[in-house]
């Protein structure tokens, strides 16, 4: 016979992030604990709202059968007291005890008979253990000296085993009380409380239990209103709907117009202020493509007066923020962007690295040394000089996330060239693993130089990541570099740029150490970047090739891709492995004149191998070598009785491996 356990917990506020943590932690942790107790069950489901947490475990057996087994007791020497304790804990009778002699002494043994134990106490323990150990990102506590570390008050709980109320050892939480609690969920005929019963119970209180259903409810309302008003949610703002679905018990949408005075404000800035300052959803008009409205998601069923007050309140806050924005922009543009560069001297990166101004100066020196990445020196230097200037504007002080964009707007106002303005806007991209990379070539060049400089300087002063922490975002920087190089197909030696930058920093003495770290670090980041798409062996073979020493990321990436896609690659690897297994590594050359036709043919084929600069042709050529290895190994006995002949053959195989390794380090595939 099976039953369902239902736990309903009422909380203070649960944020979106924490609701996600609960949904992830509870099933995993519970499964582990129940498996430990050999408890089988149907399904574990977790539902959250900002104030409720519901856990259901279906099809649990009402009893667990404890199988018959022999239990080892205390040593006979230990006396009566130990024996009594053993009898008490194992619940067996004194008559069933037997003595057995083991090599290290005489011991008591008992036969535990098959018995049945109620499931609920095991479930209750597992549930409490799971709830109190939910990981909280700051490890705060709510009740002193208590295992709770997630800092949320549990107000009350209802624990149902079938339909019967049970108690849990949840500290300070109030157990279900019919006269007080709202969670009086019963069914007149069924013995089980179903998910539907719980959902209906909450629906009556104006709560949608499932976050997916809350999102659907919200989307339905939005699409109805948007069609009527000819508005649309910009694609980058769609994730906000999900966020609001988590943060409400039942979401309702209020549409609010943007005052016409502010419609002239740049759309990007307007969108940013709407999402940041009022947590609203920007809405764009179909025809004019102007941002004319924003939506506010509320937790309350709307009455006309509530709707009016919400619109008035949120519009007031938005207008104040926009007024501030306009004030800052007026103040900022009183002087040209270039003049802000002097302020960058005060922005210290690190005591040994100097200021942001020094960093920009070093980047310009790199450009003068010839690292223009295919761009015009003049444009690149101009973009580099201006790209950090907006850091010191009031607008960026207020809205830090707009850095780059503000500089670009002010540069347009001063009539700098289009490409320079775009480069200023894009120099911080990509911001994260899914953020876009710079679209313009000049933007890519600025972003690359900036990131290489930042990476090198951070490594130079020991700001390197550990396995779990990367406070200076070096992994993100390295990934950004790889993505930009890949997108714009830029072939450049990062090694040489980094070397120049280190010289400019004046860290010549520890140059080798810094470069060594950069080499290993970029190698591991490139491997991570390629891992989801290409076989591990091919990535390793490509990245451990001596050509990687130059840190030409694109050359290595192209090698990975070409090898992964080339039809002959598997046979090349197989032939390499075969030759390698013959223990031919470093086999010295041997004085021997082959007479066997297969030996002669193999030697001639290796001599006729031609090097090529084109990667595809190179792989075609080594595929031919691989074919010869296979033919040679199939037709010839390498371990010949003649020691000279044997040494010569091994040397030939070694030579063929060396030829293959000129393209990639296939030893990493063995």
């Amino acid at each position: 016979m099976t039953q369902t356990a239902t736990i309903i917990i009422e909380h203070g506020l649960l944020s979106e992030r924490f609701q996600r943590t609960l949904a992830e932690h509870i099933p995993t942790h519970l499964k582990r604990l129940l498996a430990k107790n050999s408890l089988e069950f149907g399904q574990i489901s977790v539902f959250t709202t900002p104030h409720n947490l519901v856990i259901r475990i279906t099809q649990c057996p009402t009893e667990i059968i404890i199988k018959q087994k022999k239990l080892k007791g205390p040593s006979v020497k230990e006396g009566e007291e130990a024996l009594n304790e053993f009898i008490k804990t194992t619940n067996c009778s004194r008559d069933s005890l037997i003595q057995k002699d083991l090599p290290h002494g005489s011991f008591w043994f008992a036969d535990q008979k098959e018995s049945a134990q109620s499931t609920w106490p095991i479930l209750a323990d597992a549930l409490v253990n799971t709830i109190v150990t939910v990981p909280f990102h700051k490890r705060m506590h709510w009740i002193p000296n208590n295992p709770f570390t997630w800092a949320r008050p549990i107000l009350s709980y209802t624990a149902l085993w079938g339909q019967v109320h049970q108690t849990l050892a949840l500290p300070k939480a109030i157990p279900y009380d019919k006269s007080v609690s709202g969670n009086h969920i019963t069914h007149p005929t069924r013995t089980e409380i179903t998910r539907k019963d719980i959902e209906e119970h909450y629906e009556q209180q104006g709560v949608i239990l499932s976050s997916t259903k809350r999102l659907e409810f919200l989307e339905k309302q939005i699409s109805k209103i948007l069609i009527k008003e000819q508005l649309t949610v910009p694609s980058h703002a769609k994730h906000l709907l999900e966020k609001h679905a988590f943060n409400t018990q039942k979401p309702y949408m209020v549409l609010s117009p943007i005052h016409c005075d502010f419609r002239k404000v740049d759309t990007h800035i307007l969108q940013h202020i709407i999402t940041e300052k009022v947590h609203g959803i920007p809405l764009i008009h179909h025809k004019t493509e102007q941002l004319t409205h924003f939506a506010v998601i509320t937790n309350y069923p709307l009455s006309p007066s509530l709707e009016h007050n919400i619109i008035a309140g949120f519009t007031g806050v938005l207008n104040a923020a926009l007024n501030d924005g306009l004030f800052f922009m007026d103040k900022d543009t009183e002087k040209p962007l270039e003049e802000y560069s002097a302020h960058l001297k005060k922005k210290i990166m690190h005591i040994d690295l100097g200021s942001v101004w020094d960093h920009v100066d070093r980047l310009k020196a790199c450009v003068e040394s010839g690292y223009t990445l295919g761009e015009r020196t003049q444009s690149l230097t101009e973009a580099l000089s201006l790209m950090k200037c907006d850091m010191e504007t009031q607008m960026v002080h207020e809205y830090a996330a707009l850095q780059g964009y503000i500089g670009h707007l002010y540069a347009i106002k001063q009539k700098h060239s289009f490409e320079v303005c775009e480069a200023i806007k894009e120099h911080l991209l990509p911001l994260g693993p899914h953020s876009p990379t710079p679209s313009s070539r000049l933007g890519a060049a600025c972003a690359l130089l900036d990131k290489i400089g930042m990476l090198t300087s951070s490594v130079s002063v020991g700001r390197t990541p550990t396995s779990s922490k990367d406070p200076f975002g070096l992994r993100r920087l390295a990934l950004g570099i790889i993505r930009i190089l890949d997108k714009h197909d830029i072939h450049i030696s990062l090694h040489r740029i980094a070397e120049t930058y280190i010289d400019l920093l004046g860290f010549t003495k520890k140059k080798d150490d810094i470069l060594r770290f950069l080499h290993t670090f970029l190698q591991s980041r490139l491997a991570q970047f390629a891992k989801p798409y290409y076989p591990h062996t091919i990535i390793e073979a490509s990245l451990h090739h001596p050509s990687f020493a130059d840190l030409d990321i694109m050359r290595s990436l192209t090698l990975i891709r070409t090898l992964a896609q080339h039809p002959q690659t598997p046979s090349i690897i197989q032939a390499y492995k075969r030759a390698h297994n013959m223990q031919c590594k470093n086999a010295p050359s041997a004085h021997f004149s082959p007479k066997n036709p297969a030996d002669i043919a193999f030697e001639q084929s290796l001599d006729s191998h031609k090097e090529s600069d084109d990667l595809s042709a190179k792989i075609d050529a080594i595929a031919l070598v691989a074919d010869h290895i296979e033919t040679f190994c199939n037709s010839t006995l390498i371990e010949s009785a003649n020691p000279e002949e044997r040494a010569w053959r091994k040397h030939m195989l070694y030579k063929s491996c060396v030829l293959l390794e000129k393209t990639a380090s296939f030893s990493y595939c063995t």
Partner: protein, 281 residues
């Protein structure tokens, strides 16, 4: 409802909840939390509830009295309850009801915003409290003060009194808030706001501020050595305000800023830890 009546009603509400109603702390602070009735009393494990209005000075927020939403000197109402009650949210809603704010026609939302004040090594779990989109208060459950886990979790509510008054009176500028039936906020404070901004951004004597900062730190260290803890803490508050003025004058580089913050933090933590030790003995 006039500004002064709003304050009276809130004080009366919290007095009913057994809070001690205190006068304002008389030294410059950037937030009500830093005043000793919160910052020091919460270090102890003795139950404590208090409510007070605190004038706050944030020189960098000054706008010469031209901005309708920003001030360099404004008022917070601080409520601390130690240990925190379980019905914190309900209490807050009731305090708004005491101001005749109808919860059926207005939207109240709590947005997670964990609080941290590195200068006193304090952190807490917290929420911004929005009324129709405007942040009118903050709620924090202190978890750590002086880098030591709080024995009793303290609940703190900080009301932004001007924001709340703007909502109640339906005005869009702080300076239009009616203090009573005769005076507006602007009548009383606009001149002061202009002067404070001029002082913070243009007139303050930088070398005086720098030497004064060093003086306050030195004095705090000396007092700490003698075990005179509360005056030592007060010197830290003076130093902190002087640092804010130097920052507003734009004379601090990022590195200097970091090192100054670190020096105040270390000193404050040491004082706080000594205070905890003293209260335990």
């Amino acid at each position: 409802m006039f500004f002064q009546d709003m304050i009276s009603r809130l004080k009366s509400f919290w007095a009913q909840q057994q809070c001690v109603i205190l006068p304002s702390f008389d030294l410059p602070v950037g937030a009500g939390t830093l005043a000793p009735p919160t910052a020091l009393r919460c270090l102890t494990s003795t139950p404590w509830s208090a409510c007070y209005v605190q004038g706050c000075r944030r020189p960098n927020d000054g706008r010469y009295g031209h901005n309708p939403n920003r001030l360099s000197h404004y008022y917070q109402m601080q409520v601390v309850i130690q240990p925190s009650p379980l019905n914190a949210q309900l209490l807050f809603e009731q305090s708004l009801a005491s101001l005749d704010i109808n919860m059926h026609t207005n939207e109240l939302r709590f947005l997670e915003d964990d609080w941290e004040n590195p200068s006193i090594g304090a952190a807490g779990l917290g929420w911004e409290i929005w009324l129709n989109g405007s942040e009118i208060a903050q709620c924090t459950f202190f978890q750590q003060i002086a880098s030591v886990s709080s024995e009793l979790v303290t609940l703190e509510f900080t009301y932004g009194l001007e924001r709340l008054a703007m909502f109640l009176q339906g005005v869009s500028s702080i300076f239009d808030i009616k203090w009573n039936d005769t005076y507006t906020y602007g009548d009383i404070f606009q001149d002061q706001e202009q002067d404070l901004s001029r002082y913070s951004f243009d007139a303050a004597n930088i070398s005086f501020l720098q030497s004064s900062f060093q003086g306050h730190i030195k004095e705090a260290e000396d007092l700490l050595k003698q075990g005179v803890l509360i005056p030592a803490y007060e010197q830290c508050l003076f130093a902190s305000h002087t640092f804010n003025l130097l920052h507003a004058r734009g004379v601090l580089s990022v590195a200097e800023r970091e090192s100054i913050i670190a020096s105040i933090r270390t000193l404050t933590r040491t004082i706080a830890q000594a205070y905890i030790k003293r209260s335990q003995s």
